[in-house]
Amino acid sequence: MPDFLLEIGCEEIPARMIDAASLELRERLHKLLDRERLLPAAALAYLDTPRRLAVLAANIPVAQPDVVEQVTGPSFSVAFKDSQPTPAAHAFAKKAGVDVSQLQRTTTPKGEYLSAVVTRKGRSAAEILAEALPKEIASIYWPKNMYWRKPSERFVRPVRWLVAMLDDEVIPLEFAGVRAGNQSRGHRILADRSVAIPRAGISYIEALEKARVLSREQREKQIRKTLDAATRTIPGARWREDKSLLDTVINLTEWPAAILGSFDPDFLELPEEVLVTVMRDHQKYFAVEDSRGSLSPHFLAVLNTDGDPDGIIRHGHERVLRARFNDARFFWQTDQKHPLRERTTWLKTVTFQKDLGSYWDKVLRVQRVCSWLCEKIRQGGIAVRPGVVHKAALLAKADLTTELVKEFTELQGIVGGLYARVQELDPDMKADAREAVAIAIYDHYKPQSMEDSVPRTVEGAVLSITDKADSIAGMFALGLQPTGSKDPFALRRQANGIVKTIAEHKLPVSLSQLFKDAREAYRGSAAEKKFVVAVDFDGTVSHFLRERLEFYLRDALGFNYDVVSAVLAPDSDDVVDAVARAQALKGVLHMPEFQAIAAACKRMRNILKQAKGAGIEPAVEFQALPDSADEETRLAAYVSTYAPIVEAHRQKREYQQALSVLAMARELVDAFFDKVMVMVADERIRANRLALLQTLLKEFSTVADFAEMVTEGKESNESSKQ
């Protein structure tokens, strides 16, 4: 069985797109081989670099297996008259490709028919692949693609060669005007242009390695090895691990090597954030730190070549970095000529969003909402310094006017924080207050993702939450809420940040109140005239936030979806409370009592629903009647005794305790459902029992709606018997 190889030779593919495209190509090939009954026994192998996507399949069938099948023809009585075949028989035999003598008689439920056994030859793998692969190649998804020959032919970058082989035979296929052959290409600089591939399989990998092209795995290994080796020349130094940078340089090289360079230690007086941003984001260098973890005046560059024996390349990199650092220093110094407090007024001419006004307008709104929020947090028993928040809110956006942020936009907020630390913010402001303001500004874009940390201080958290709530409230009021995959203002990410920050700081914040306040801050503004009147602001915002809270509980904290649904049913407004209830619920889930109670709750809900559907009203409240069943009165007694206790625990947020009290009801509930029929004919007793169930379900659902829980068994069918 032959080995298969496809290599798409391309001009440099963007590093960020290679991994996904490589995976997709393998998936496409696997599906194709599966569809065509050509699957190999082993998994597909691959090789991808900036200049090629290659996929290899070992031992695929030479051809599809033949298929033998029986086809049914005309009825026997029509096909044979007097034991002689009629024209109908001849026609069928011809169509089936067999001789008339080979036709058979088949008995079917409808009667006797003529049939033939037909063997359909499997097509050859080469034929199938030649026909199908061009379509598969053309279908690979690219975040951005282009045309270079005809507008109808699109790929990420121009395709310059193709290798398609079964063992040593070329598969004759063509894509975008390029005919497949057995000639690949090696490293641009280190190898000759053309590399003959003797056959598909391991010899392809070997031929390329000789031509200085390594697989992703080998490149990673080689980069780590040379990074280590280069760093070892500085005693005690370490290179800073950086996963996304590593992924980038792996996909920018075919034959990588790392070199160490140095910069003037005087630059270390610039903030580390600035230096690292320049090195990582602009130059793709790894930062080096000394044994104490401080930045050292060195960097590591990953080359796409085999070394730098004369230090020529290092010298070039050092020159570039020096120029970049000089620029950064120049910006830093220029920016100090106008302190943040002066720049705040410049924000009047910086648009936040065309309908929502300037950043200055935003600053004023955020300040107002911050002071309301501080008050509530203080009432909730958490210490916060409103003066610090107020000042930080005033200055937080001023760095948008600085040269440093214009050059390094990813440092917005951080630069403001760094400047606040070294500038006079207020003549009589104490040093510790200034530091607190600086930290709040520095952190206020955090968290940038679910993995990112939240602001370090409560003041930073308040500012961060308010700033994001202001953006979300404004956009929603304009009718610009995210839809489907469209979220150009990253409002989902911002809302995720609000939820995460509230949860981790355990802030007593009501989401609905926060957004009422944020909306209120727009009242009477010019922006408000642009708001879409038809928008149900409270409804869409609360739905959106509930989704974000669900996402946080599920994806960030790892709760199961049924726990999340159960917990959010009674309330989804208080983030901290929802997290506490989810934790308590998760803690008792394994107990058999709760499986039983969950099943019972579902049953109660169904019974109540059916009763409602039938127009049967429960009594106003349960009353012990002379003819009440024992199980019924005992259950009612439990409710009246323990409901206040559960409620008291709930009020104190002692959810674990509240749930333990509920657990005690299990036997009573089981006994009730075993012995007592709810939907009896006697209207009075029926209404009384329904009232009991209604009360019970209400009391059970204050911590979590157990009816949302996934339980074992088929309790829903059972309940319908009632």
């Binding site: 440099e12 230090g311 000089n326």
Partner: protein
């Protein structure tokens, strides 16, 4: 520390070498366009030549003026006016990347001693309604060239497309000569007297005086007036052409052929430059900015369509103004910040 090459190219030798290289590969050598442009792409030898079906190969040096980038001659890396060597290959040959790498050899760069990478960088000019796909070419960590496959220009889909190579001449020269300041680049070396003329000797006054003008003395009101005059005249020309096209949409009459669309384009370029001056003067708020850019783009797009019509003698081909080819839209999450 490695010593720089004994005799690196002077600035003018660099230009000569590159011009010779591309001339030998069939390029017309054009001279810099004499109306202010913000980028080599805006010169008509690029903007207009990439439109329509006629093959074309051209190379030229283009000084590009960006008033807001001026630094009074004090910053060693930033200039108000920098020079680009522009190469347009229409359509691009299959070995266009290899040709480009050869051109580096022509400057005396031995690629075996250096590290070269093609890193994703797609070029877009909202003012011109133009965009393309390509790379920034990095040599030992320095961006030396922007390599772009044009896809659309003036809102018109291109067929055939062109490859555009934009060499940053000051950067390359300071790399070759190992200078930390652009102003120290040796521009010329007199073989008879041995006298050296630096980039600073030639250009420093230019940088200083234009920084003063652009940042301090350019009269905002007059610049606005100039802008409006140029815009108005350009529009009038486009309207006249449209009227002509309506009358004779069945072919390319002599009236159409002699119509001064090239002059209309000059007016559009003047608008673009005046916009840049106003921007440097801080006279355009961020809110206004988008609107003014759209006005200039309207001119550029109008000219491009008319130009295609004039070239073919038929109505402009249908075009897609959306600068995107994304099959599935994957928007980057962008927080609202300054433009």
């Amino acid at each position: 520390m490695p010593s720089p090459k004994p005799n690196p190219l002077t600035f003018q030798e660099l230009i000569l070498r590159l011009q010779t290289f591309w001339a030998e590969r069939g390029c017309v050598l054009q001279q810099p366009y004499d109306v202010e442009v913000g980028a080599g792409t805006m010169a008509p030898e690029t903007f207009l030549r990439v439109l329509g079906p006629q093959p074309y190969k051209v190379a030229y040096v283009q000084p590009s003026r960006r008033p807001a980038d001026g630094r009074y001659g004090e910053n060693p890396n930033r200039l108000f006016k920098h020079m680009q060597l522009q190469v347009i290959l229409k359509p691009p040959p299959e070995n266009v990347q290899e040709l480009y790498l050869e051109s580096l050899g022509a400057m005396g760069i031995d690629l075996r001693q250096h590290d070269i990478k093609f890193e994703e960088d797609n070029w877009e000019s909202p003012t011109l309604g133009a965009w393309g796909i390509g790379w920034q070419v990095m040599l030992d960590g320095l961006e030396i060239t922007q390599f772009t496959y044009f896809q659309q220009c003036g809102g018109v889909d291109l067929d055939p497309i062109s490859a555009e190579l934009t060499y940053g001449l000051e950067r390359i020269a300071s790399f070759l000569q190992d200078k930390d300041s652009i102003y120290d680049i040796v521009w010329a070396h007199d073989p008879e007297t041995g006298r050296v003329t630096t980039y600073g000797d030639v250009r420093l006054a230019d940088e200083l005086q234009f920084s003063v003008y652009n940042f301090e003395l350019a009269e905002v009101e007059k610049a606005w007036k100039h802008f409006e005059l140029c815009e108005g005249e350009c529009r009038t020309l486009l309207e006249k052409y449209a009227a002509l096209a309506k009358e004779k949409n069945d072919g390319l009459g002599p009236d159409k052929q002699r119509f001064p669309l090239l002059a209309a384009y000059d007016l559009c370029l003047k608008c673009s430059h005046l916009f840049n001056i106003l921007d440097a003067r801080g006279a355009i708020s961020v809110t206004e900015r988008v609107g003014v850019i759209a006005r200039v783009r309207a001119l550029a797009v109008g000219i491009a369509k008319a130009f295609v019509d004039q070239q073919r003698g038929e109505l402009p081909a249908k075009s897609e103004p959306e600068p995107t080819v994304e099959k599935k839209v994957k928007k980057k999450e962008v927080a609202p910040t300054t433009a």
